[in-house]
């Protein structure tokens, strides 16, 4: 097969990115004599227009039927060069890339060795590419209905956005009412607008919208299918089950608050006037900040980072509590103008829009800010008999270096955000992953923040990580943009690179059945064979390695191709000897 192929090889210097460490001319000189190579060139920027055009022209001029590009990681430019060779008339899968940037020039500091390795990798690609098979993209129909799980501000926003675009939505909320955690909040930082106003308008529009089916007291029982074609069962009020068909799923299940009683030294549950931020929100909503005995507090201490940024509890920052604490300082001042407010913080995280101004304004009113070391948190104890306040907060103030005792009638604990207790079940249900803290993992933290590893399943809001309202809303809207784009296309194009089971070799042993991280493998009890739902397969290769019968083949990553690649490296090694 090798000798019949006409391979074009293109070695890129990537400006100086590759060229400064790898001798690209030497790589070209070596490669052009390999069997099957019809033309081999090097160029400064292969991915540029002239670079791509060079490949397109050569395909025609030399009658190339395979192309190797020795350049950056295929994660970077494989799509670029696939498109280019497709433009030149070749099947896009007749391309192979040798990564001589990330795997050579960027990680080595010896010119000779980096150049040698580049030759070896290029030779491996040349050996492999004749065994590439042509593939066509496949498409599946797209159901335009969506399932939104969770009716907090994220879920409400996403549902509205889709319904406003005339697409059907099922909004499943496990609670008896909509609104989520925002419904427990009074004013919102940093502009102090009312949460109730924000929510009431959305809830009203959601419940009135004929495109949205709201299902309260409901939970998703099961989900099957794949992008564009999911089926779900919704259980309402503990019994009634509804079957729905949807094309996309948005997970908006939000967060729960950290349990403050875990931090013994703060006395939550022991001292009646140690309250959490949510307890205080409740008071603020009712318009009166009072102690258990009904009296107005004179000394209020707010402690930040409760359960957050700690070696003992959650290591991460909960992001909203610093600004929420400032909001409380304002709120308490309004409800109890004579109160002395102290805010104990570890770092003041005021990164959001308008937040730094909010901090400055709050600091100008008479809140006293004291900083503590997150590894040496303050303690709360009962005040001595006869004192005119009821608790004493002790803190090592690190800016002054002094140990300070603060009188307190009320202590407010800024509890952090945590993944919900059932997040594991939700993750299993929709087949996405969680990080070590239980937050759902996005497809790419920077470039693809609302998609997940499962096509057609999106995440928005505080279920992915602690977030304030603006970020939550932005994410909710982002998910709908992704979904609407797919609905517009009407069908979904899926990569033709997936694993497939050869029925003639499968013994029905079922070793592979629980192996797929994307639940793409089905077992047919009648035929006694397993089969892969190709649109769900991400070609991770797990089942390919796992199948003891060798009945599973990964398209584009066949044993033959991989062995040829290894041969290529060895061939280069023996050419040196």
């Amino acid at each position: 097969m090798t000798t019949e192929c006409k391979i074009g090889v293109y070695v890129c210097s990537c400006g100086t990115n590759i060229g400064k460490m790898v001798d690209c001319d030497a790589v070209t000189g070596y490669t052009k004599n390999l069997p099957g190579v019809a033309v081999c060139k090097s160029y400064k920027y292969m991915c540029s227009n002239p670079g791509q055009e060079m490949i397109v022209k050569d395909i025609q001029r030399y009658g190339l039927d395979r192309v190797v590009v020795a350049a950056c990681s295929p994660r970077m430019h494989e799509p670029t060069f696939r498109a280019a060779i497709s433009h030149g008339g070749l099947n896009p899968y007749y391309l192979e890339m040798a990564n001589i940037r990330e795997q050579c020039s960027w990680v080595h500091d010896d010119h000779q060795q980096a150049t040698d390795k580049a030759k070896a990798l290029t030779c491996a690609a040349v050996k492999r590419v004749p065994f590439h098979e042509p593939f066509d993209m496949q498409s599946v129909p797209m159901n335009s209905a969506s399932l939104v799980i969770g009716g907090g501000v994220a879920g409400l926003t996403a549902a509205l956005e889709l319904a406003d675009a005339n697409q059907p939505v099922y909004l499943v909320e496990k609670d008896g009412k909509l609104g989520g955690n925002l419904a427990r909040i009074d004013l919102t930082s940093p502009y102090l607008d009312s949460a109730k106003d924000l929510l009431a308008e959305r809830i009203c529009r959601v419940t009135k919208n004929p495109k949205i089916t709201v299902m309260l007291n409901s939970e998703v029982e099961s989900i099957s299918g794949y992008v564009g074609n999911f089926k779900a069962q919704i259980k309402s009020n503990g019994e009634a089950v509804t079957d729905i068909e949807i094309g996309s799923i948005i997970v908006c299940t939000g967060f729960r608050e950290f349990d403050a009683s875990k931090v013994g030294e703060y006395g939550y549950g022991r001292f009646p006037n140690v309250v959490t931020s949510f307890d205080l929100e409740k008071m603020l909503k009712e318009g009166r900040v009072v102690m258990k005995d009904g009296k107005t507090p004179k000394y209020v201490t707010i402690i930040n980072c409760v359960g957050s940024r700690s070696g003992k509890y959650n290591r991460y920052c909960s992001r909203v509590c610093c600004m929420t604490a400032l909001k409380y300082a304002n709120g308490i001042k309004s409800a109890a103008p004579d109160a002395f407010i102290t805010n104990l913080y570890t770092d003041m995280n005021a990164f959001g829009k308008g937040c730094e101004d909010f901090y400055r304004r709050s600091a100008e009113r008479d809140t006293i800010f004291m900083m503590f070391d997150k590894h040496a948190p303050p303690t709360v104890s009962a005040a001595g008999k006869g004192e005119h306040f009821n608790m004493l907060v002790k803190v090592n103030e690190i800016l002054s270096g002094e140990e300070v005792e603060i009188p307190a009638d009320m202590v407010v604990l800024m509890v952090g955000m945590e993944a919900r207790e059932d997040s594991m079940n939700v993750a299993r249900l929709v087949n996405i992953s969680r990080d070590k803290d239980g937050w759902f993992i996005e497809s790419h933290p920077k470039l693809d923040p609302v998609a997940t590893s499962t096509d057609g399943v999106f995440i928005a809001g505080a279920c992915a990580s602690p977030k304030d309202i603006p970020d939550t809303v932005a994410q909710a809207r982002a998910t709908t943009a992704r979904i609407l784009a797919k609905i517009c296309q009407g069908e979904i194009w899926v990569e033709p690179v997936y694993a497939e089971i050869n029925e003639d070799l499968c013994s029905g042993c079922r070793v592979c059945n629980e192996l797929c991280p994307y639940s793409a493998i089905d077992y047919d009890p009648v035929k006694k064979r397993s089969a892969i739902i190709s649109v769900m397969c991400k070609s991770c290769g797990g089942c390919v390695a796992g199948c003891p019968s060798g009945a599973i083949k990964a398209r584009h990553f066949t044993d033959k191709q991989i062995f040829e690649q290894i041969e290529g490296v060895l061939e280069w090694a023996s050419s040196r000897a």
């Binding site: 390695a545 003891p548 009945a551």
Partner: protein, 321 residues
């Protein structure tokens, strides 16, 4: 000698004798073979000498069936001789096919083997320093014995092989079927075929009920009372059936013992042992590294389980300490 009859020879290399017995185990069929064939050599049943074979014309034999692995220079010498003298060369049994049980010796070096066999063994007289040498000078000349190779080879490592009949030993019915085919003069399958075995794994023919496999603990067969209806692997008993060609008639699982893999790898598989290991690791029901270690500690001698028959033919091939 009736030239219309089939001219055949059977031979054992590094073998236990089981393969030769399996041919006898075809019972009265053996008489049909005797009637249809001239047997020139068959260590267990017929007294053929090397010189008789050497005297034959090249290509004279219609069929040579070689069982056993290639462990020493004599094994290799006879393999070459039989290859030269016969039209069709068959690797008979696991040892010839993939190295078999003798191949497990490849996990040790020759020096280690000699040390434990001749120098440091409770049954060896203390202080013994004698190990076999290919040549020894004695009064009146030089004695030679076959040289013990550094590693065990499967048959096709040393000669060109036409067909493989797997099994340790091959099931007599399969042996019978293959011999009948050859005697019948019907067209033979393509060269290189594995004959007398299925293209699917043993699980296909195993009647035990198969379900999703999630293993929390591995057992050796004697450590649990097994459910006779249920797949052994699902019960935590390492069964190689899913990585092994069917053909034996499900001998082991039907006798409540796990398959050990003697029928060799599936057609697409390069390394049967690697497949056995990956199938076992695919079904462990834990994400926690410590728990996984604990679960795996229930498997004693994973190399022995995975490469019981296939070491010599595997990608690993041998220890190079």
């Amino acid at each position: 000698m009736d030239k219309k009859k089939l001219q055949i020879a059977l031979y054992w290399g590094a073998a236990c004798g089981g393969c030769d017995v399996s041919v006898l185990d075809t019972n009265e069929f053996i008489l049909d073979i005797a009637a249809a064939c001239d047997i020139h050599m068959w260590p267990i049943a017929h007294d053929g000498k090397y010189k008789d074979i050497e005297a034959l014309e090249d290509g004279f034999l219609d069929l040579a069936m070689y069982n056993g692995a290639v462990r020493n220079s004599e094994n290799e010498h006879i393999a070459h001789l039989l290859r030269k003298k016969s039209k069709v060369m068959v690797a008979y049994g696991s040892c010839a096919h993939i190295g078999g049980i003798p191949g497990l010796a490849n996990t040790f070096t020759r020096e280690e083997i000699f040390e434990s066999a001749y120098l440091k063994n409770p049954s060896i007289q203390e202080g013994n320093k004698t190990v076999p040498q290919p040549q020894t000078e004695v009064d009146g000349g030089e004695l030679t014995i076959p040289a013990f190779y550094k590693r065990v080879y499967k048959l096709d490592d040393v000669v060109d092989v036409d067909y493989y009949i797997p099994g340790c030993p091959p099931a007599p019915e399969q042996c019978k079927a293959v011999l009948s085919l050859i005697v019948s003069g019907q067209p033979l399958p393509p060269k290189g075929s594995v004959v007398g075995a299925s293209e699917r794994a043993l699980c296909e023919d195993c009647q035990r009920k198969k379900d999703e496999k999630m293993i929390k603990q591995f057992f050796r067969p004697w450590q649990i009372i097994q459910d006779p209806e249920k797949c052994l692997l699902e019960q935590g008993i390492v069964c190689a059936g899913s990585a092994t060609r069917s053909g034996c008639g499900v001998r082991c699982p039907d006798s409540n013992m796990p398959c050990r893999g003697c029928y060799g790898p599936m057609p697409n598989v390069v390394d049967q042992g690697a497949k056995i290991i990956s199938s076992v690791s695919s079904i462990i029901d834990s994400q926690d590294p410590e728990e996984i270690d604990k679960i795996l500690s229930g498997i004693h001698d994973i190399t022995g389980y995975a490469y019981r028959f296939g070491m010599a033919g595997s990608l690993l091939q041998r220890s190079v300490r």
